[in-house]
Amino acid sequence: MPRQGQGPHVELAGIGKSFGGVRALDGISLTIERGSIHALVGENGAGKSTLGKILAGVIAPDRGQLLIGGEPVAFRSPREAILRGIVLIAQELSIAPALSVAENVFLGTEPRRAGFVARRALRRRYDELAAAAGFELRGDLPGRGLRTADQQKVEILRALCRDARLIVMDEPTGALGQSDAGRLHEVIRRLAAGGTTIVLVSHFLREVAELADQVTILRDGRLVRTAPAAAETEDTMLSSMLGRSLGAAFPPRGPVPPGAPVVLEARGLSAPGVHDVSLEVRAGEIVGLAGLVGSGRTELARALCRANRVTAGTVSTAGGPLAGHGPWTALRAGLAMIPESRKEQGLMLGRPIAENVSLASLARLSDLGLVRRRAERQAVTGALGQVGVRVAAQTAPVSTLSGGNQQKALFARVLLRRPRILVADEPTRGVDVGAKRAIYELLTSLAAEGLGVLLISSDAEEILGLAHRVLVMRAGRIAAELRGEAMTEAAILAAAFGAPEMGV
């Protein structure tokens, strides 16, 4: 265990990190006190997760210095950070379903006798550890089927049994219900009271305000300020995180012409995760679809595009109600989708850029089943130009593009198909600020050309900045429809959380 020395636990000086030419972090200097709860807040892409990963040795900074207990360190792997008592609990928890809780906790550090796991010692050590942490979680429960909150506890115990003096928690309550989140907060407080330093990466400003001792606010990879949490309110944090006026960040949106035809209409639509949803999108209109993660936004998008089975209700486009199953039915009716995860659902990473872009339009670019290669090349060049991507060679694998350009290549694929309605699920996730701005402009100009857009985003700013009208989902239903003056972040959050009032 590192010495309980005096002075700050961690000091960062001028930390910088770039990914493929994009600055994720720039000149970050901050001090984390021993036994404190230090929150990192910022928008998506502000760099808070990256900073957490640098602390835990998951990624190495390009520039700057990291001091632990006053000593400079340069972690080459998470293992080296663990040896210095720093453990990261990632957003995606890693529980082995076939092992028990106790076995999960001691995974890799099991008490052993002659190569066999000493079961009784394992049980005893688990009970001691859980008691010390104040957890009531039986060690013999199977990892399979553990609630997320209990999985969190397993991860925390795992960290503690490795003698963690500093635990980085990335969005620990992101997937938790309210009472579980409350319980986790108690755990975090108890750990801090016992001298463990907690670095809390969180989206939830209320949580930060209640829990943290210190708050560091990041914006676009830069540090805005570090201040005592007592001196901050949700409002002050939010305005510093944003730090931009909406008009500057979002392109102006044209009005929806009165009498514009409805290009997408759902009536009483039910599907897995979606209950009795009705909505309309008109030509030239951007409709924002907001809501918490897990509220059914993606499920709705997939049901609309026939990617998920529909159990009741109808989806109609200008050409009439969709019949049949499968996304090709929707595509034929002019309904195209940008999926949530470009790597898992969007791109064929190992295949050439050209093939990725032309995939949905090959029928048009072929004669008797033979691909017209010159026509394909020209079409791909045109589509890439339209979304503002210049490539050295269309034959290079699409994985060689940056995240933002990969996303734009997906837009190019969809545009080449010439849809009448576009359903875009988190189109700016994981792209840098410049690409974000380009995607905003693209969406606005597409709408101006008469495309109907359904925009799903977790970023309320984005929805407010782009959409003509906002639908908020909660528990698989449309909880609210907001127009005009009623379109505010507070109203979106209130509808998403189902609280009548929720001041932000």
Partner: protein, 308 residues
């Protein structure tokens, strides 16, 4: 990067040159045409197998289908017109391929297990057809015309092979169906959301594979004028797969090319031919083959790891 794209080509050329230099009978028209003729069934089956692998599947039933089609055609040729025998043999293969495809796509059963199970069923059917005996067609030479007619001094079996391999190469690299195969194997969900009917594409590859395996079986039965229910069918399945994979087509789907398969199959054939011509102990041939296969698969896995 360039090296990776060329892949198997260099080892193949090196082996070719070494054999040409070290064995006088190797670089002769007779020997080279003989190799092609002997490999025609394997090449046809491997060409279709490439489509299956690229689209994200695998077909372990090709050896059994080869045997069933061979005995079916040979059996029919005893008393029916040769054309009917040939058509019936290929049709049996297309039927098995369709069943494979339906099991894999409609019932979502893992292709490896589904086609393995089917290979047992099909082997059993082949034994039923022959009653456990060797079918011999020496008294009905009309059936031999399929493989043994000489056209421009080259056997029709070789011509058929060339036609099938080139046709399937065009399908894979030039048609929309071929693109959809790559897409289905590379990222099935992305393909589906782009309007590709992934299951239909996969089913088609299984049907083609079954038909090709049957054609191979019929050609070989015609070539040697006999067929047997269990004529090293497992060995054939694995030789075909080894050829495809050694060529550089990924076992994980989405990557591969027809020329790779052709070179891979011929590479393995050259190793066998070399062992014969140089009089090496054939026991080592198997070991060498296994080693090469491991290297090929290992190289594929390694280069995927290094992908950005």
């Amino acid at each position: 990067m360039k090296l990776r794209r060329a892949g198997i080509l260099y080892p193949f050329l090196i082996l070719f040159v070494v054999l040409s230099v070290s064995s006088a009978p190797f670089f002769t028209r007779v020997n080279l045409l003989d190799i092609l003729d002997q490999q025609s069934a394997t090449l046809i089956i491997a060409a279709a197998g490439t489509l299956v692998l690229v689209a994200g599947g695998i077909d372990l039933s090709v050896g059994a289908v080869y045997a069933l089609a061979g005995v079916t055609a040979a059996h029919l040729a005893l008393f029916a017109p040769p054309t009917l025998a040939i058509v019936a043999g290929v049709a049996v293969g297309l039927g098995v391929g369709l069943v494979n495809g339906v099991i894999v796509t409609a019932f979502r059963i893992n292709a490896l297990i589904a086609t393995l199970a089917m290979s047992f069923v099909v082997s059993g059917l082949a034994s039923l057809v022959t009653g456990g005996n060797l079918v011999i067609d020496y008294s009905h030479p009309g059936f031999a015309d399929l493989a043994r007619t000489s056209f421009l001094t080259v056997n029709t079996s070789t011509w058929t092979m060339l036609a099938v391999v080139i046709a399937l190469a065009v399908v894979l690299s030039r048609t929309t169906a071929g693109r959809y195969m790559y897409a289905s194997g590379s990222n099935a969900e992305a393909a589906r959301l782009s309007g590709v009917r992934v299951q239909l594409i996969r089913l088609t590859t299984f049907v083609i594979s079954g038909g090709a395996a049957a054609l191979g079986g019929v050609i070989d039965a015609s070539r040697v004028l006999s067929a047997q229910a269990s004529n090293g069918e497992t060995t054939l399945t694995f030789t075909v797969l080894a050829g495809i994979v050694v060529g550089g087509t990924s076992i994980l789907g989405g990557e591969g090319a027809m020329w790779r398969t052709a070179v891979g199959v011929l590479f393995i054939a050259l190793i066998g031919n070399g062992f014969d011509l140089l009089g090496l102990n054939p026991l080592y041939e198997q070991i060498a083959l296994g080693g090469i296969l491991l290297i090929a698969v290992g190289y594929d896995a390694w280069s995927r790891l290094r992908q950005p």
